[in-house]
């Protein structure tokens, strides 16, 4: 191997270990029929879900397909703006690219009548008082700030109504409804 001669002017400098080279890419994203339909109505302060053609399961937000069967879901249903916490995390770690006061509560929100949940922020609730099964409602942005974005709901806050029991909260609710009363 050739001996490398380092010029005396830089001989005492610290060696470069790594170089950060931020890059940027701009692209046009087409969300598809289901997400587009959802976002348009979300801009009118309406929350849509998809109905599974297989067993009527309600999927919010709509993805256009039932992940269990791979079947097309083209039926939409309007959802209430209330639900419950399926489970949650009290987070002391900042999210890259988003400024939130720590700690914050990220929770799986199950809307009333929905059979899957989505992750969202819970606020107006001290972390130690958040519970699995706690009932919540949406807090929307002011009307003049509402647009075709996923961020129209600022956060979810407790309604003060009685909690759902653990065995009916979150993903467990599906099994209760399925094997329980006839309106499943």
């Amino acid at each position: 191997m050739t001996e490398i001669q380092i010029p005396s002017s830089i001989r005492n400098l610290e060696q470069v270990q790594s170089v950060r080279t931020p890059i940027r890419m701009e692209y046009t994203f087409t969300p598809g029929v289901a997400a587009q339909t959802y976002l348009r109505e979300f801009g009118n302060k309406k929350i849509l879900g998809n109905v599974s053609p297989v067993d009527g399961a309600i999927l919010v937000p709509p993805r256009g397909a039932d992940p269990r069967y791979g079947v097309l879901c083209d039926e939409f249903v309007e959802m209430p703006h209330t639900g419950h916490v399926g489970s949650f995390c009290v987070t002391n770690v900042p999210i890259p690219g988003r400024e939130l006061e720590l700690p914050y509560i990220s929770a799986w929100i199950f809307l009333d009548g929905a059979d899957i949940g989505f992750l969202n922020l819970v606020a107006e609730c001290p972390p130690e008082e958040c519970r699995i099964g706690m009932r919540v409602e949406a807090v929307w942005k002011p009307d003049d700030e509402i647009g075709m974005t996923a961020e129209n709901i600022l956060y979810w806050r407790p309604t003060g109504e009685p909690d759902l029991p653990f065995d009916e909260a979150g993903v467990r609710g599906w099994h209760v409804r399925k094997h329980g009363d006839s309106d499943a």
Binding site: Q17, S18, P67, R68, G86, F88, N92, I116, F166, V171
Partner: protein
């Protein structure tokens, strides 16, 4: 064997030292280090290898797209068949299974398999929190995803709050017996684990895995080649399963894909009582509570009893009858893409009697386990000191 065909065995294992920053080697240097050690252990040279199977976590971690091409030369794969495997965090396990399948099928006789990650040249936390178009960005890394699942396990089982700390403390003690482990914390006390700050409550700082650089490699060969080795680890069973990460009624704590993968595995291996018949387990536990959760899911105990095994000390190398993660586990070393293969390789080392200070005495059958994504991709194998009879 459900995989069918030829018997296969591990005759070479190689790992790098795991650490936060392997600044002394490039990515090619890192994978080559592990691969050379595996070849040396197997008593082979590069020319003996028929094909190479490589795995790592998603490309956007390091920002190197299709690194298998970039690393082909370092892995001696020029002019040879090379495969890349992608299954998120479980990839190290599935990569080993793909390599084994090339031997089981009779396509190749001697396959080199390597899995790696260089977290110091990436930002996994950022990569796992990428904002998706038209979705709310609320999830801070993997801990933010797994914390709500762990919370449901804790509430469903009413397990004592400090079970997770017991697992974390045990794995850090085990790591002291493994010179390759990233975290060596001889002065760590149980109280320090308990008092470490909550990051993603209920997950404490000390209950999470570190970010590591590292690679693991294995040489997997057919029966004829394995007979030449004085201590092969015979592959008794291998299984993979996956499921979607959000669907109505999904059991997030004990996923169907996990249960069915384990059932297939035990069936292939002819094992009816895993607790009795498995001598050492290398399980993918990046957050402490996953040890009791997987103990249940994998059938080592009844549902709801995993935490009791932890509490009883059953999973500790000293005195436990089912030692789990004697290497220190993912909680002590986490080069993400390699983490699954380290589990599989450590299982092989145990049945070959080559695990050094963290050897489980007399281990004849060991399990390697990996999971990935939103606890939705699973890869498992059973290796044995004895040639499989089933």
């Amino acid at each position: 064997m459900a995989a069918g065909g030829e018997l296969a065995a591990v005759i070479g294992v190689g790992m790098t030292k795991f650490s936060a920053t392997r600044g002394d080697v490039s990515m090619p240097g890192l994978v080559r280090e592990a691969a050379e050690r595996a070849l040396k252990d197997a008593g082979m040279v590069w020319g003996d290898i028929d094909a190479v199977v490589m795995g790592k976590a998603p490309d956007f971690f390091e920002g190197v797209m299709m690194p298998e091409i970039f690393l082909g030369e370092a892995l001696g794969a020029v002019g040879k068949p090379m495969l890349r495997v992608h299954t998120a965090g479980s990839v190290g396990g599935s990569t080993a299974l793909v390599a084994a399948s090339l031997v089981h099928s009779g396509v190749h006789d001697r396959v080199l398999t390597v899995a790696w990650e260089k977290q110091s040249e990436s930002n996994a936390m950022w990569a796992l929190s990428l904002k998706q178009p038209f979705q709310v960005s609320i999830n801070a890394g993997a801990g933010g995803y797994f914390s709500p699942i762990i919370r449901q396990y804790m509430e469903a089982t009413q397990a004592p709050e400090l079970i997770g700390c017991m697992v974390a403390f045990k794995d850090r003690q085990h790591a002291l017996l493994n010179p390759y482990a990233h975290l060596h914390q001889p002065d760590l006390t149980f109280d320090q684990v308990v008092e470490s700050p909550m990051l993603w409550e209920p997950i404490r700082y000390s209950e999470t895995c570190p970010s590591s650089d590292g690679a693991a490699a294995m040489v997997i060969v057919n029966e004829t080649e394995a007979e030449k080795s004085d201590n092969p680890a015979w592959i008794h069973a291998g299984a993979m399963r996956s499921e979607a990460n959000n669907f109505p009624g999904r059991d997030e704590v004990n996923p169907q894909a996990s249960r069915e993968c384990a059932a297939d595995l035990w069936n292939q291996a002819g094992i009816s009582n895993p607790r009795e018949e498995i001598d050492a387990v290398e399980m993918y536990v990046p957050f402490s509570w996953y040890e009791p959760m997987w103990l249940e899911s994998l059938g080592f105990c009844e549902r709801g009893d995993g935490w009791k095994l932890v509490e009883s000390g059953a999973t500790h190398i000293n005195g436990g009858d089912l030692p789990v993660n004697c290497s220190g586990g993912v909680l002590s070393s986490n080069p993400i893409g390699a983490s699954g293969m380290i589990r599989f390789a450590e299982a092989a080392l145990q049945v070959r009697g080559m695990a050094g200070e963290h050897q489980v005495e007399g281990a004849r059958k060991a399990m390697g386990h990996a999971y990935g994504g939103g606890a939705q991709y699973f890869a498992m194998w059973v290796v044995g000191k004895d040639k499989p009879t089933t």
